[in-house]
């Protein structure tokens, strides 16, 4: 039986894929389980968006549906060629709400430099869906030999984040009914292809990229560590978190490392390129707070965190149902 925890992006989601999808659908391309599939020099990805509420500080379902998919293309180093969008509409949805969502998709697509070139709509009876669910797919092209992939992360790599973490998850939570959060939160939802282009232009040899959505930065680091067979060590003090987001996480009992982001990425780059990579990222408004948070080392695959007090603990994948319907 499917439980909400299967949608967490954490261990239960992984188990669902490993036990119920890969055995029947498994193939070489799918087995990579990257942000996008790479076939020759094409990248292909698809994602369904069910965020609740549909409008949240800093963004909405439409913007998320475009950004999430173009960002998945960017994480394998691909430039987007075109997107498709499929809409599941619930009977009774207000048309002006749909119009706002579609307008927001158009704006995000313009920012990302891509067009939505095909689509589909289906309507279901009231109660069979919650307002509107959107599935977008994206096709992109890999250029030259720029091929970041989780398995390419290597011992000695510097680990970078492109800015403050946890902003999206907390912004969505802050407008859920009954959650006692006050403060000016804003989702970071944005197309981040430009950050990848900045690294490419600076001739940084990017080994691995991941956009830390569900499951947060912790999940991304663990996935890369396991794909590459490296041990990642990060310094908790170096991780940028906005004070209001940190306070909200404390109130709700969350660790910002596990909270979703929609406009950030984690990068593994060779030590020699680290300073150049940070300078390149900071040259773009979306990367202004880019910083190094750790280092990949040889060792058992996993991720260690050095706490501000100097203790060392081992990170685990998210479990349970941290924040349902965050994206």
């Amino acid at each position: 039986m499917i439980l909400m925890g299967h949608g967490s992006g954490g261990r239960l989601s992984q188990e669902l894929i490993a036990k119920h999808f890969l055995p029947k659908l498994g193939n070489g391309v799918l087995a990579e389980l990257g942000d996008s599939a790479v076939i020759g020099d094409l990248a292909l990805t698809t994602d369904a968006y069910v965020v609740s509420p549909r409008f949240f500080p800093g963004g909405d379902l439409g913007r998320l549906a475009v950004c999430g998919t173009v960002n998945d293309l960017a994480m394998v180093g691909a430039r987007p060629i075109g997107l498709t969008a499929a809409f599941i509409l619930e009977e009774g949805l207000a048309l002006d709400e749909l119009d706002r969502i579609v307008a927001s998709m158009a704006e995000a697509a313009r920012e990302a430099g891509v067009e939505i070139v095909a689509g589909d709509t289906k309507v279901v009876a009231r109660g069979a869906a919650d307002g509107v669910f959107i599935t977008t797919s994206g096709v992109g092209r890999l250029v030259g030999d720029f091929r970041p992939a989780p398995r390419r992360a290597a011992a000695g790599d510097a680990v970078l984040v492109s800015g403050t973490i946890g902003d999206h998850g907390v912004a969505v939570m802050s407008c859920r009914k009954g959650i006692p959060l006050e403060g000016a939160f804003a989702s970071d939802v944005a197309p981040i292809g430009a950050l990848v282009e900045a690294l490419r232009a600076a001739r940084v040899e990017v080994h691995a990229l991941r956009d830390p959505t569900r499951g947060g930065v912790a999940q991304s680091l663990l996935e890369i560590a396991h794909a590459a067979g490296v041990r990642v060590s990060i310094d908790e003090r170096a991780i940028p978190v906005k004070p209001a987001v940190r306070a909200a996480c404390e109130l709700l009992g969350f660790d910002p490392l596990y909270v979703a982001n929609e406009g950030k990425r984690v990068a593994f780059v060779p030590e020699a390129d680290a300073d150049r990579a940070i300078a390149a990222l900071r040259g773009h408004p979306l990367g202004a707070r880019a910083t190094r948070i750790g280092t990949a080392t040889a060792g058992d695959p996993g991720c260690d965190l050095v706490t501000p007090l100097g203790a060392r603990r081992s990170l685990r994948m998210a479990s349970g149902e941290l924040l349902p319907r965050i994206c």
Binding site: M1, L3, G5, G178, G253, D255, P308, A311, R312, S314
Partner: protein, 366 residues
């Protein structure tokens, strides 16, 4: 000049590290302390002779499995909307004869029961107002911190004449459990790190008997890692001096006399009763029962539910963990069959549970 928090923390770690007397075991009894200490990796920074163990401070964890069975049975009734804090939905009930691996409210919800996760009991009121045809039941678990809010909800419901809201209560009060543990011969506790949030309501005075009768140092601490370290350092100092008194190391928040208004609200609705704690058994006077004049808001009296005697999951040592008698890692189920995704016992469910906090933040030394 005030030292930076990092400097003070390092100085405190060094100060505690100089203790070279008899081994000391201090107990914290607050889920927020459990989680904060685990996240900061405090345990691995303490010297071998100073141990910080977690006691019965996680509300979901100390709630007996029979309560979970009761809640699941209520959720199965078609007229009931069950409103609960999130942690409880994944706690396994004992009726493994009904469902493998074990029934939970999350599974009941997946099969169609109307179970809603809330962050405040006030949401139950809002639902009851908006959906007058539903019987809204709030799962009221917790300590002195949540009891006044639940009481306020009951008072508001009574004032409004809302007839479709009730509380399945399992509230507990901490001092009686601490006294039981202080008197226990199973584990020698050399002092208590007292819960900051509970103390805001109760005031520091409630711990006086622990210091006076049982000669246990008691230090109220805040929740930042450095505040916890201040608390542990103060406990070591009391122990070193052979003294035992109640010390308020969280003075910004905890005041003498606590919060009398919150207690008055609580007393209006609840009266002390004997309560069953997972792992500790029945402790006289350690629970809160709804007074008779609010009986119609008591879901246990409002709905007739008959259940077989609950059985704790086989091999689960949550009880021993909650008494501080064993470390979570000493349970054979820890990390094998029992993980946060497949919990056998409640301590592996809540983020504030000793087992979950340990599993999620496994310390591997400084």
């Amino acid at each position: 000049m005030t030292p930076a928090p990092g400097d003070e923390a390092r100085a405190l770690v060094a100060s505690i590290g100089r203790w070279d007397g008899r081994p000391l075991t201090f107990m914290e009894v607050c889920g927020t302390h459990t989680m904060a200490a685990a996240r900061a990796g405090l345990r691995s920074l303490l010297p071998p002779k100073v141990r910080l163990v977690s006691g019965p401070g996680c509300p979901v964890c100390v709630t007996p499995v029979g309560y979970v069975d009761h809640a699941i049975a209520l959720a199965a009734r078609p007229e009931i909307t069950l409103v609960t804090f999130g942690d409880l939905v994944r706690v396994p009930g004992s009726r493994r004869d009904l469902e493998a691996p074990a029934p939970t409210l999350a599974r009941a919800k997946a099969r169609g029961a109307d179970v809603r996760v809330a962050y405040s009991p006030l949401e139950a009121l809002a639902i009851a107002r908006a959906e007058p045809a539903r019987e809204v039941v709030f799962l009221g678990v917790g300590f002195e911190t949540t009891a006044p809010t639940i009481a306020a909800v009951v008072i508001a419901a009574a004032a409004e004449g809302l007839a479709n809201v009730s509380v399945l209560g399992a509230h507990k009060t901490m001092p009686e459990a601490m006294a039981l543990l202080a008197a226990s011969s199973e584990l020698t506790i050399d002092g208590f790190l007292c819960p900051g949030h509970v103390s805001i309501v109760t005031g520091p005075e409630v711990y006086a008997p622990l210091a006076d009768r049982f000669h246990k140092p008691c230090v109220i601490a805040g929740f930042e890692p450095v505040e916890i370290l201040r608390g542990v350092d103060a406990l070591v100092r009391q122990a070193a001096a052979g003294r035992a008194f109640v010390e308020n190391a969280y003075p910004g928040a905890v005041r003498a006399g606590g919060n009398p208004r919150a207690r008055a609200v609580q007393d209006e609705v609840f009266e002390p009763c004997d309560a069953s704690w997972r792992g500790l058994g029945v402790i006289p006077g350690s629970g809160l029962a709804m007074r008779d004049r609010f009986a119609r808001f008591d879901a246990a009296r409002r709905f007739d539910v008959r259940l077989p005697a609950p059985r704790e999951p086989r091999g689960c040592r949550c009880g021993d963990v909650l008494r501080g008698a064993i470390d979570p890692t000493e349970c054979a189920l820890f990390g094998t069959s029992c993980t946060p995704d497949t919990p056998d016992g409640a301590c592996m469910v809540s983020g504030e549970g000793s087992c979950a906090a340990r599993w999620q933040n496994l310390e591997i030394g400084p």
